[in-house]
């Protein structure tokens, strides 16, 4: 009855005010153990103030092959960026 421990993805908030960021993965039997292992594996030098663990199988990733249809529509919408608009030099605070 050999069974491999499931894989977990680890996200760490490096200091308060910042986002949690993916740092890597590890194996653990459950969420509690994943947290403990993440503490030992990814925060040995004060790298974090908070940890999220998510079992890898619960993550759905977009397919790189779909990135054109997914992200292309935003590419030509230059008017969404402030640099698209000219403001006269003598107008300030904008």
């Amino acid at each position: 009855m050999k069974k491999e421990w499931p894989l977990w993805e680890i996200f760490i908030r490096s200091k308060s005010g910042l986002n949690h960021k993916h740092v890597g993965s590890l194996h653990a039997t459950d969420a509690e153990m994943a947290l403990e292992n993440a503490r030992d594996l990814y925060t040995r030098r004060n790298e974090g103030v908070s940890i999220w663990v998510v079992e890898s199988k619960h993550i759905t990733a977009s397919d790189p092959d779909d990135s054109d249809p997914l992200f292309e529509p935003a590419r030509d919408k230059v008017y969404r960026h402030p640099t698209f608009y000219t403001v006269p030099d003598n107008v300030s605070h904008m």
Binding site: W5, L7, T29, D30, L41, R45, A61
Partner: protein, 345 residues
């Protein structure tokens, strides 16, 4: 509306590709060209990106061998934890060895992003199908060996790993960045230990010299065969898995390490070692490749011992792994059980 259009387009792409048969050959050529152009443009390859089979295989082999080296690498140093001469040294050594375990785990999970299976990788190590760095098949005979390992072995590893922070596969590169940050402590604690020994009593200095004598050549061998003999290097550099050749890395290492040995007042065990003004590098003597291949083939001083130790750890831990899994399953069931119990009542 727009999202629906995308979905239809994706659906068509996925499910009706059999209609595109004439293109298929072209597509695989294209994929390969797109892949190579990404690499040429310094765009990292990520787990779900298309990649040639051989790229995936090469990486799984290299990353897992790297992981095995970190894990087996704990053994020669672990040998001295209980005999460290002070509490300070013991804490440092414990932290260092624990880091190496961490490095192994970062790397195993990087290999898993390529579809490798952790248990299978471990089996490959235990059955001897996968190799690990030969340096760890040498014994640690005196306390100064712990200094020499941090200074020379971690030093050589850093030379290689700094290059690998720019490797083309994203998860491997990111693991390397994390590892390199930790490695510099490893090297510095080793050098500090060597200073304590080299500037200590004559007996201590003799121990430091003895350690340098035994570790110098194996450290140079860590960079692998000469470029002229190396079988994988062309493809690996085209794919930017490796960005410097074995000989370049070895020369870098010699150039920075020799002055460090001089500072310690120790003699590098190589009569042919001298500064070459013209090249701007140190010339050094011939490496004993017979010894290298002999150790690679399993006949080093500690090969059998290392694999025995790993096998014992793996087997002794089996019941713990199984019990932990069973416990987690039971806990999960208990979470569901109370509700079921209430309903039944």
């Amino acid at each position: 509306m727009f999202a629906t259009l995308i979905k239809i387009r994706l659906h068509l792409q996925r499910n009706f590709c059999f209609l595109l048969q004439p293109y298929q050959i072209m597509t695989s050529v294209n994929l390969e060209a797109i892949f190579q152009s990404k690499i040429d443009d310094e765009v990292k390859i990520e787990p779900k990106d298309w990649m040639p089979d051989a790229y995936r295989k090469t990486l799984i082999r290299q990353i897992s061998q790297h992981a095995h080296s970190e894990i087996v690498g704990m053994l020669p140093e672990g040998n001295w934890i209980t005999r460290a001469p002070s509490l300070r040294r013991k804490l440092i050594l414990l932290a260092k060895v624990q880091d190496e375990a961490g490095h192994g785990l970062y790397l195993y999970s990087a290999a898993e992003t390529l579809g490798a299976d952790r248990d299978e990788l471990v089996q490959q190590l235990l059955t001897g199908k996968a190799k690990y760095s030969s340096i760890f098949n040498y014994p640690t005979l005196n306390w100064a060996d712990i200094g020499a390992i941090g200074w020379l072995v971690d030093g050589a590893a850093i030379t290689n790993q700094v290059m690998l922070t720019r490797t083309s596969y994203g998860p491997y590169a990111r693991a390397m960045v994390r590892i390199c940050k930790e490695e510099s402590f490893h090297q510095r604690q080793g050098y500090e230990l060597m200073m304590a020994m080299s500037f200590g009593s004559p007996e201590q200095k003799a121990m430091a010299q003895d350690a340098l004598n035994r570790w110098w050549w194996p450290a140079l061998m860590m960079f692998g065969p000469h470029d002229s003999e190396s079988t994988h290097s062309d493809q690996a550099s085209k794919w930017k898995i490796k960005r410097k050749s074995n000989d370049e890395l070895r020369q870098n290492f010699v150039d920075v390490t020799v002055p460090q040995a001089e500072y310690l007042g120790l003699t590098v065990p190589d009569p042919d070692l001298r500064w070459n003004e013209e090249r701007g590098h140190y010339d050094f003597g011939k490496i004993n490749w017979d010894e290298f291949w002999n150790v690679v083939k399993g006949n080093g001083p500690c090969n059998r011992q290392r694999i025995q130790a790993r096998t014992k750890a793996y087997e002794d831990g089996a019941w713990v792994r199984e019990a932990a899994m069973a416990h987690a399953e039971k806990k999960e069931q208990r979470k569901l059980q109370p509700e079921a119990a209430v309903k039944a009542a």
